[in-house]
């Protein structure tokens, strides 16, 4: 059987984490090709519904990346992200999906290395968790 090659969705805020991802690119920092970035203006605009939809649909992991707390381009936008995502993890946990499939982290515009680190770690973690069980469920 071929090695499990997770599909991962990442939401990056335009001002910090997306810029951080760009910086990682400029620095040619290598990382696994599993993540697919959706650019949003602020991590606080990531609807929990997106995460739940993605995981229900079989996506193996979702990363939500924003500016560091206090550094949000929109003052306190990311405070909401910091409060919502842990609850989304609970929703996953209770229904029997490993909450580690959703990860929230902060990457600033200058943290190319951190972006690389977070992505590499996360892909590794998801590989350990194995495929999203929802892939197998037939409704």
């Amino acid at each position: 059987m071929a090695e499990f090659n997770p599909t991962i969705l990442a939401f990056c805020c335009n001002w910090c984490s997306y810029a951080g991802a760009d910086l990682a690119g400029v620095g040619r920092l290598q990382m696994p090709p599993n993540i697919h970035v959706i650019r949003v203006m602020c991590s606080a605009s990531v609807k929990p519904e997106y995460v739940l939809k993605a995981i229900s649909g079989g996506v193996d992991g979702v990363l939500v990346l924003g500016c560091h707390i206090g550094d949000c381009h929109y003052m306190t936008g990311n405070h909401r992200t910091a409060k919502r995502m842990p609850l989304v993890q609970k929703v996953l946990k209770e229904v029997g999906i490993d909450e580690r499939r959703l990860r929230l982290d902060w990457v600033s515009a200058s943290e190319g290395e951190k972006f690389q680190k977070v992505v590499t770690e996360f892909v590794g973690e998801i590989k350990n968790l194995g495929p999203n069980p929802m892939r197998e469920v037939k409704w």
Binding site: A19, I38, A44, E49, G57, G58
Partner: protein, 562 residues
């Protein structure tokens, strides 16, 4: 049915060396609603942009997807190209296959190619749902309001007036000049503050553009950039000033000691400003001891007030110069006389016999009253022993602290404070002297304790920033603002709580309550979107259907592949 064109950029070798562009294009051709998929060596080059324009016309495209580098640098360029070809610039979608793909997967061409395909599928899915947008434009009232008549406010106002901009200067006290008004000599070059202030004030008084309001407070601020209404109240009667921009220069105050070193109980223990007043009256002591960092750089007030060391140096020099055989000591924790000129002051002071003693926070000096004068008992860290200094005067160098009405002002203008009550600018390095709230600017010691030159520099900076919208005469809001679908909205108010800009309110029309976004206040963060349970709240260019379609596209392609 949308007609989408996909343009994949080689970016020389940057992309093509890793991603198999041909394969990607073949894939793109098969995506829903894609009419044409082409490639170019450098899409951002003149011929690259030209061929995109031609293709738009030739294939009657109404949506454009460019797969190349990062939108954060090149988006404006391609948007412009679309506009030139008659496609609304908001019908353009950027897919980043360089920074986010080829550059970070250089050793894995095949997976990188597969990833590029998926990213493009996602971009195409979103593009199909994009809608043309019109950028909201509003006129700017060519008037500025400067709050605070201290040095900073005067500088800002004078600069605006000099540009011919109608400017209202609002000062709560009866006279202009603020803290500097109480200081006679300005360090390090020992110029007279009066000359500086008089010049600024006369400039203003002379100008027909300037209007000075003394004994006046701001009682209300409404509106948004270009269109504020500032309500002021002078001796009980209030007036509404329409303005395009607001500059906040409310300054700071000297911390009043709370009994430290016998202040208030022992005569002869005074603050820096009290000393300034004495010196101005020519009342020069024979013996003086300055104690630095009284109430600052300690738990609860960790910051360095930055101006106190220079003030003490300046005044110590004034004393030794006026009184040849005077004895002056400065008891400090570190001398923060940063910068060339101030450092010179420090050297000059020690050359002229000013004694510097270093004390520690844990062992503060002790002041006692003897029949002839005061005695300052201090433990000198450098020689590790207690020293008694006889003196006539003890000067407490207390820090500048935020004014206690700072919170009210912050509320009026809906701008944030830091934990010390100083005003918090949008971004220290990226957007100095600006607030996150457009059209409102911050300068001087209200932002952070600042020296005379810093105050003036910031005043000028704020004036320059404030004059931009006023000179332009128009403000344009990028069409990424949020709106509420009134029919869907259940008026639960989550968005009202969520919005960092207080841009949303629940309105009532024909008995129906629903959320309404003031799109000039909206900065397009989308925090409200994620707060909305029934998806009534949407952000232009990032609607839930658009983003969901990207997720669907990823799932579709990823799941089929595995």
């Amino acid at each position: 049915m949308p007609r989408i064109g996909v343009f994949v950029c080689h970016c020389g070798h940057n992309i093509a060396a890793t991603v198999n562009v041909e394969k990607v294009i073949e894939f793109a051709k098969g995506l829903p609603d894609v009419v044409v998929a082409e490639h170019s060596l450098y899409s951002c080059s003149e011929e690259g942009l030209g061929s995109i324009r031609k293709s738009i016309e030739k294939n009657k495209l109404d949506r454009v997807v460019v797969a190349a580098c990062t939108p954060r640098t090149h988006e404006p360029l391609f948007r412009k190209a679309c506009e030139m070809a008659g496609v609304n610039k908001y019908l353009f979608e950027f897919v980043n296959i360089r920074e986010h793909c080829s550059w970070i997967h250089t050793k894995e061409p095949d997976p990188a190619t597969e990833k590029a395909k998926k990213l493009i599928a996602m971009g195409v899915a979103k593009a199909g749902l994009l809608e043309p947008q019109k950028e909201a434009e509003s006129n700017v009232i060519p008037t500025a309001v400067v709050i605070g008549g201290g040095l900073t406010g005067l500088t800002a106002a004078a600069s605006l007036v000099a540009q011919g901009i109608d400017t209202h200067l609002v000062e709560m006290s009866g006279k202009l000049g603020g803290v500097l008004g109480e200081i006679e000599i300005i360090g390090p070059e020992f110029s007279r503050s009066k000359e500086l202030l008089d010049e600024l004030v006369n400039d203003l008084k002379a100008s027909s553009n300037a209007k000075i309001h003394l004994d006046t407070r701001v009682t209300a601020v409404s509106g948004f950039i270009g269109n504020f209404e500032v309500t002021i109240e002078t001796k009980g009667k209030s007036e509404k000033i329409p303005a395009g921009a607001i500059i906040l220069a409310t300054g700071a105050t000297e911390l009043a000691p709370t009994g430290e070193y016998g202040y208030g109980s022992i005569p002869g223990v005074i603050t820096q400003l009290e000393l300034e007043r004495r010196l101005a009256k020519g009342d020069v002591p024979k013996r003086a001891v300055f104690i630095q960092c009284v109430g600052s750089r300690q738990p609860g007030r960790e910051y360095c007030s930055r101006v106190c060391c220079n003030a003490s140096l300046k005044n110590a020099l004034r004393i030794v110069e006026a009184e040849p055989n005077s004895s002056v000591s400065i008891i400090h924790r570190d001398i923060m006389s940063y910068g060339t000129a101030s450092e010179r002051l420090y050297k000059e002071a020690s050359d002229k016999g000013v004694v510097f003693l270093r004390y520690g926070l844990e062992r503060p000096a002790n002041v006692t009253q003897k029949q002839k004068g005061l005695v300052v008992e201090v433990y000198d860290e450098t020689i590790d022993e207690n020293i008694d200094i006889d003196t006539d005067l003890v000067v407490l160098a207390t820090p500048m602290v935020s004014r206690e009405d700072a919170r009210d002002v912050a509320k009026l203008l809906k701008v944030p404070l830091d934990k010390y009550g100083f005003f918090l600018e949008a971004h220290v390095k990226l957007r100095p002297v600006e607030f996150a709230t457009d059209g409102v600017f911050i300068c001087g010691s209200a932002r952070w304790p600042s020296s005379v030159s810093e105050c003036m520099g910031q005043g000028l900076a704020a004036a320059a920033k404030a004059s931009i919208p006023i000179r332009k005469g128009k403000v344009v809001v990028e069409a990424i603002t949020c709106w509420a679908d009134a029919d869907k909205c259940a008026a639960c108010g989550s968005c009202v709580i969520a919005c960092p800009y207080e841009a949303i309110e629940i309105v009532e029309e024909e008995g129906r309550r629903y959320a309404k976004v003031n799109e000039t206040l909206c900065k397009g963060c989308g925090t409200c979107v994620a707060s909305c349970p029934n998806d009534a709240m949407q952000q232009r260019g990032f609607t839930s259907r658009q983003l969901s379609s990207m997720i669907d596209a990823l799932i579709k392609n990823a799941m089929e592949e595995t």
